[in-house]
Symmetry: C2
Subunit: 422 residues, 2 copies
């Protein structure tokens, strides 16, 4: 197809405009995907990302977390300074700009084990939002050992390249033996009395992280301390291999292409969990393949047959040491602390683990009843995933729908028509 002059195909003209888009530019334009879709939510999301990182880092280093969250009114109206400080292991100088100044940079993306942050995107999205709304750099202080100096770095993100730009860096004295502090300014709205407030988020975080101590300082100076109710760290999570149930053909193809094992049988045993030699042989047999086939020689059809065989062989459920359940006792204890009033009844359950798409998961639930709860108000539902409170999109939440479908009138609660939230 040619232009009017008939000299050059239109496609050649259009091709000139085609180019790579950086992931930072993409998320700058699509900030709603990352939770920065409104000025109230922006503050919550920024705090959440920093607190998630703080708790994850502490757990990786087996430190009882002490997290300090401070939100202060900045000089200009409508601008807030957010600071989150932890006592985690710190971040080495060379990696610090990458961790805070690049989207999709992290350590937990490929690991199959429970953690709060996984994508290597959250905290740099907060840095991005800060510079977009205020034009200012983010300040990070980090110290990795008592006998080393703390490293201070003011950085921004070069969105065109998705790379950090260090505005200023230095070393400094910090009383803490180790830890990280991140501080940014963002334009946002600070609301205290909302279901989706930072206060509510921290209160809920305390419930599912009974081993963490958190201190929160609000813009008006109010200080709230969430004391820990557990004196021991949760059992550390171990990274596991993928479970054969639920893996996709494309994933197996990629694993085969990067296989170190020379034979299919060995590949299966070293690449998946719950795969003994006997099971691997059975899989191969069902797929019509020899365990001695070279992994790189399998055709798409053979791989498809193999993945189908995965589904047709009974396997043990995946090991659960990649999960970090809170446990029934601590859940109850945390609920009681949270209620701050007499509880007549509390129950909790930690279910057996199951597997989805190769990833193990388990469900924990707890319920508490206080006789002094106001009768004319709805009960409060707290939802969590990976020890992180979920404060948005309750309408799309299966747990909420589950609660709504129970006839709570039998239990003496008020509920119009026996449906909905009592």
């Amino acid at each position: 197809m040619y232009f009017g002059d008939g000299l050059k195909p239109i496609a050649e003209e259009l091709a000139k405009k085609q180019r790579e888009i950086s992931v930072a530019e993409f998320f700058e334009k699509n900030k709603h995907i990352l939770g920065f879709d409104s000025s109230t939510r922006a503050i919550l999301t920024a705090v959440k990302e920093a607190v998630d990182n703080a708790l994850d880092a502490c757990e990786e280093a087996h430190v009882m977390p002490e997290v300090f969250v401070e939100i202060a009114q900045a000089e200009k109206k409508g601008v807030y300074t957010l600071r989150v400080e932890d006592n985690g292991p710190g971040i080495v100088k060379q990696q610090l700009p990458n961790v805070f100044g690049r989207l999709l940079y992290g350590s937990r993306f490929h690991a199959i084990r429970q953690s709060r942050g996984q994508q290597g995107i959250g905290i740099s999205a907060a840095v991005l939002y800060s510079q977009l709304t205020t034009g200012k750099p983010t300040k990070v202080v980090s110290k990795i050992a008592d006998d080393r100096p703390a490293h201070v770095c003011h950085l921004m993100i070069n969105t065109r390249q998705n790379m950090p730009e260090i505005v200023e860096e230095d070393i400094t004295h910090w009383d803490k033996p180790h830890g990280t502090s991140v501080e940014f300014e963002i334009i946002g709205k600070y609301l205290r009395d909302s279901k989706q407030s930072v206060y509510e988020y921290l209160k809920n975080t305390a419930i599912v992280n009974p081993h963490a101590r958190m201190v929160f300082k609000e813009p008006d100076g109010t200080i709230t301390t969430f004391e820990r109710v557990a004196e021991a760290m949760p059992k550390p999570c171990t990274e596991i291999l993928p479970h054969p149930h639920g893996v996709e053909i494309g994933t197996v193809m990629k694993m085969l292409a990067n296989a170190k094992a020379r034979k299919l049988g060995a590949f299966l045993q070293t690449s998946f969990c719950r795969m003994s030699q006997r099971t691997a042989d059975e899989m191969c047999l069902k797929a019509g393949l020899s365990p001695n086939t070279k992994p790189e020689e399998l055709s798409v059809e053979q791989i498809t047959a193999l993945v189908n065989a995965f589904k047709n062989v009974k396997l043990m459920a995946p090991p659960t040491d990649c999960l970090s359940p809170i446990g029934e006792i601590l859940l109850k204890r945390a609920l009681k602390r949270n209620a701050g009033q007499e509880i007549e009844f509390a129950a909790s359950v930690t279910r057996a683990p199951s597997v989805y798409s190769g990833n193990p998961f388990l469900v924990e639930a707890a319920i508490a009843y206080c006789p002094s709860m106001p009768k004319d108000q709805q009960i409060s539902i707290m939802r969590f995933a990976n020890r992180v409170p979920l404060l948005y999109q309750q309408g799309a939440c299966l747990m909420t729908h589950g609660i709504e479908s129970v006839d709570w009138r039998r239990y003496g609660l008020e509920q119009r028509g026996g449906k909905g939230i009592p």
Copy 2:
């Protein structure tokens, strides 16, 4: 903080795991963000992305679109072959692998004008989903002019690098003078009678694209033709400069850093729309800056003052030639064709444009009433953005809430309590 042996800080050990995550790996793991969250939705999303591209390409080349969509049951149960063919300008050989085999690669990301696809992500996400679920490459045929051969390319995405991998390529004869055809296999569920079916999507697409002719072949062989009701292309959209109202500080900083103009006054006039010399001078005055300042010398504080001045100077609304409204007459005509029955009443409105975050937008709405509509069924609400039907998340839709809040009983419709969808 040291390990038990006290020799090496833990942070140094943790740093070893930190690495870049490719955008393809990210979206492979987070496919729900791109609309591939269930096996029914996957088919719809894949078709939608290909049709969006087809219509956009035709409009860019000023061709009346002829789009052919075919969904066929593949050899294996639960696997479907999707093919979408257009008569657009085609894609040059060198760019074809990038367009289909890289996420975040495209031509419309930075342009401020209405188009369906913007992110350079949709069609490559479909390629990614296809290879993930079936392990197979995508086949693309494209021809850019009658006197050139068509180019055939079978490609996959190297997710670790977010780069295309060409499995096979060739030239071929194609009767069409120009156009593109894309074909992939995906594991999915094909449902015909659902509000969120491909059929429904194409029917709705026809309403807001009255200039397009679309033919749809379903797995059972049924062929539906959506004939065009407009014999002329929509007025082409022109790319515009950003409007000063609603731009963020970070965006202006980036524009200033890349400014070609040597003086602030000239920068303002050449970088924004609706910015005359008089307006630019007024902005500078309000911000306490001289129009002769060098753009690269502005401090963050000065840029903040400038962006605040943007908000305090009255400006003309942005030009609307970057938008492509359907128009009241065509909207009514399309609704009538769609109803396929006698319409007693139809009305439509195209509102004046407004601006959000520097981007102009306008609202169009139409309503039709057929006396023969079944009384015991809800009315049907069709929602669109940029001439693309919205079939998901109706619960979060403002237009739907608007309709629900009207007391339709006054208009003779049945509506319990005068609220909700009549």
